[in-house]
Amino acid sequence: MKNKTKDKNNEKSEGVIIKVSGPLVVAENMEGATIYEVVKVGNEGLSGEVIEMRGGEASIQVYEETSGVGPGEPVIRTGRQLSVTLGPGLLGAIYDGIQRPLDSIAEKTGDFITRGVEVPALDEEKKWKFEPVVEEGEEVSPGKIIGEVKETETITHKIMVPPGNFSGRIVSIKSGEMKVTDVVAEIKTESGKKEVRMSQSWPIRSPRPTTAKLLPAKPLVTGQRVIDTFFPVAKGGAASVPGPFGSGKTVIQHQLAKWSDADVIVFIGCGERGNEMTEVLQEFPELEDPRTGNPLMERTVLIANTSNMPVAAREASVYTGITIAEYFRDMGLDVALMADSTSRWAEALREMSARLEEMPGEEGYPAYLGSRIAAFYERAGIVECLGSDKRKGSLTVIGAVSPPGGDLSEPVTQNTLRTTKVFWSLDDELANARHFPAIDWLNSYSLYTEDMAEFLDKNLGADFRKNRVEAMRILSKEAELEEIVRLVGFEALSDTDKLIMETAKIIREDFLMQNAFDDVDTFTSLKKQAMMIGEIMGFYREGKKMLSEGMEIKEVFAMDKKQKLSQLKFKKES
């Protein structure tokens, strides 16, 4: 997709490389190039982006391996910003960091990704059935839905008037089988006739516009008990999952991608393992979306820049992903984006910054790390979309963080915590004891619990919130008592404390622990979660009453009610 306004004043002058150092290339004779303009570097035409201008010299970050490239080779300007193509065909796709479909690349270059491959982001031959929902003569403005394409069984893709100077009257609109590059409507605007195609393009570094940002009030139900009950994230919220290696970050991200009650999932594998993306690719088409019964892949877009793929494209990959997510949000859908791992993105920033010889901030990261992270998470939110129908869409962002050595004081984690309102702290010791998900209940927090109070009370009853608070109190009391047990032994505790210890154990083992690989246990609905925590707290209250009536702790522990608690999680929901 060409950006018309920019193509016009593009003289297509050719730059010349004067320096190559890893992913950084410097070229001269680049007068007039814009910051973040896309360029083709060297004889092989590698993709790159201008990140600095000094007179006629441009510093370019190259998205592909640069070995063999040398001074004297040409740099060709394209006159456009790094953009993604948005339209039918996104769902179920797997892209690299700059939206090249990996399946098309495989078709072209085989099992290994070679350089300088160019493939369109969307299948330009495939025909989609376009059904208009507006008529000729109707007044439209940016964001207005003019037609629909049934993209998958799960998602009906809305074709919208793109943002920009597109307000006016529809003069023609088509219907029927069409390609993504086809013009579907023409609009007569004040500045002349404008064409609307089935696909549009958007520069990845600018957030897509909305009418208004709203406050989150509903939970994103993930089916993970420790998250939904204790540390929920709101639809339109932002959450972070820091944890050392082996603590289960990726499994949690996968679980969220599988079971979250979002309409569309965008999963960014940023600098992580190739096999993990392969796993998603092989597993998701087989898995059923619990809400619709269709394959999960039909609501998923994958962005894969694995750790051995070029580092500059890693920096772009999170923006590519979030722009696609915003596009689906603009249709009025609930979108959830998982980025695994944002630390690799920050490291890519650091690497480019070092090569640019910028003054380093903390731990060698550039001084603008904090503002970049904040700006990224701020693209999350629940919004009123552009267009006159006041439809609402949400974008929830969940970022994994990989702190070196599990040390949460490092800059990426700290900057992330400043902007996200939910913190799931993964703990090494829990993981070693095979307590999964290894979310540490004493350290984690969610600042959305109050915002969701109304929704929860209405749907689950007021008891739920009360039980949650009480359960949390028992868990923190357990941590205190454990110290005492370590010194004097369990038997030395009072009966009430013994009951607290036992209840805490039940909460940990029968509620917090959840087996991602068990067919039933892998997902628990909010209703069932409320029931489970209700039963557990019911046992506690009854136990307390029995003790106050003078009964022995042995009798409390022998209660029928207690034995049943451990089986609750495996009970199928009707």
Binding site: I18, K19, V20, S21, G22, V26, E65, S67, G68, V69, G70, P71, G72, I94, L102, I105, A106, T109, G110, D111, F112, I113, T114, P244, F245, G246, G269, G271, R273, G274, N275, M277, T278, E279, L281, Q282, A304, T306, S307, N308, M309, V311, R344, E347, A348, E351, A354, P360, E363, G364, S402, P404, G405, G406, N432, A433, R434, L487, G489, S566
Partner: protein, 456 residues
């Protein structure tokens, strides 16, 4: 197409600056001819207008600015591969060390390789039997996995690695590619001898860079080893086991280059791109859909001060699919292999085990052994404070279990090749000391099948 330039501008450490050059490309190979006719190799680290900064693979001792000649070879570093490489030993520049002539090349391949397309990968899920219970039973190795050994100075990681190389059972033609970086002569002899003894040398390719060899070769050596492995695996269909030792020396060589270039250092002086660089090695493990071969990687690294949070093990752990932890405590108490199973992990275990792959009880049994051993360790700590007599009967049983686990399950001879069935049976056997109701991680029917029926 090579271009020759007379005279060098600067020599600083292992870096050489050549001026007045034209058409030089990034990572291009350079041959420096010294006044006395000796030739040394290097490669372009930074190419700018009229200038090339060259990183020498060997030392710069004896080099003179004026008399030396720089020859730019016009190509990046390549490795000549062929089936004749099997059974051969090379140095870090792919020159034969065994006295035989260079094998005839079938083709010449860039050692950096291209990243494998995640779309073309096959997810690894075939069980590999190593004959070591701590691995097979609890931290199962899977064909195409990258599973490093985290060890420390003076621990028997080499012994474990050679035991795996000798005993590993894979589907098809099996071969070993061994890359040694900066290890001692004795240690490298140990590997060669072990492979020779069992006849495995004939199906192996060895690349050796010992402690007194050029440091810079340590950076290219693993890439050569993996290029050879990729050829065997994806051109010839072999199941290749790649052992790289010691990755700590590799990282140190990288740090040395980085410091010489005056780059802004990251943690502990290691370059900021250490993660990306390590990934370009580890990610070369795996399988390709529709092709028979595979690359399984077992990199070995010695953790400085046995510290898991040191950047080398830390970044490695973020890339690899788990880790095998070698424990100093177990080693000191005379247990071989001293694998601490609790912090060890195989991320692909669940994909590689189960009814059709190992046995239907494997998953539950492994979880039970993990949980019980963890509990046993906890009780042990408690016992040191409170004294053993203060423990409850159940806790005492855990203590007993813990000892049995180390004695019977963990311990085995370096030459002992245990079948997976045997490993699992030992697991059941030692669980008998625990009260039946403590076996919460195993499903009831499995307990009936494997514990009760065998009792009768």
């Amino acid at each position: 197409m090579s271009v020759k330039y007379k005279g060098l501008k600067e020599i600083v450490g292992s870096l050489v600056l050549v001026e007045g050059v034209e058409k030089v490309s990034y990572e291009e190979l350079v041959k420096i001819k010294m006044g006395d006719g000796e030739e040394r190799m290097g490669r372009v680290l930074e190419a700018s207008k009229g200038k090339a900064l060259v990183q020498m693979f060997t030392e710069t001792r004896g080099m003179e600015l004026e008399k030396a000649e720089a020859v730019f070879l016009g190509e990046t570093m390549k490795l000549d591969v062929s089936m004749e490489m099997l059974g051969r030993i090379f140095d870090g520049s792919a020159n034969p060390l065994d006295g035989h002539p260079l094998p005839i090349a079938e083709k010449s391949v860039d050692i950096n390789g291209d990243p494998m397309n995640p779309f073309s990968r096959e997810f690894p899920d075939d069980f590999v039997q190593t004959g070591i219970s701590a691995i097979d039973g609890l931290n199962t190795l899977v064909r195409g996995q990258k599973l490093p050994i985290f060890s420390g100075a003076g621990l028997p990681h080499s012994k474990i690695a050679t035991q795996i190389a000798r005993q590993a059972k894979m589907k098809g033609d099996f071969s070993v590619v061994f890359g040694a970086m900066g290890i001692t002569f004795e240690e490298s002899r140990f590997f060669v001898n072990e492979l020779e003894k069992t006849g495995a040398l004939d199906r192996s390719i060895l690349f050796l860079n010992t402690a007194d060899d050029p440091v810079i070769e340590r950076v290219t050596l693993p890439r050569m080893a993996l290029t050879a492995a990729e050829y065997l695996a994806f051109d010839k269909g072999y199941d290749v086991l790649v052992i790289l030792t010691d990755m700590t020396n590799y990282c140190e060589a990288l740090r040395e280059i980085s410091a010489a270039r005056k780059e802004v250092p990251g943690r502990r002086g290691y370059p900021g791109y250490l993660y990306t660089d390590l990934a370009s090695i580890y990610e070369r493990a795996g399988m390709i859909a529709g092709k028979p071969g595979s690359i399984t990687q077992i990199p070995i690294l010695t953790m400085p001060e046995d510290d898991k949070t040191h950047p080398i093990p830390d970044l490695t752990g973020y890339i690899t699919e788990g880790q095998i932890m070698v424990s100093r405590n177990l080693h000191q108490s005379g247990i071989y292999p001293p694998i601490d199973v609790l912090p060890s992990l195989s991320r692909l275990r669940d994909k590689g085990i189960g009814e059709s792959k190992t046995r239907d009880d494997h998953d539950g049994l492994a979880n039970q052994l993990f949980a019980s051993y963890a509990k046993g360790q906890e009780v042990k700590e408690l016992a040191t404070i409170l004294g053993e007599s203060a423990l409850s009967e159940t806790d005492k049983a855990y203590l007993k279990f813990s000892d049995l686990f180390e004695e019977k399950f963990l311990s085995q001879e370096p030459g002992e090749n245990r079948d997976i069935g045997e490993t699992l049976d030992i697991g059941w056997e030692i669980l008998k000391v625990l009260p039946r109701e403590e076996l919460k991680r195993i499903k009831e029917d499995k307990i009936k099948k494997y514990l009760d029926e065998k009792e009768d």
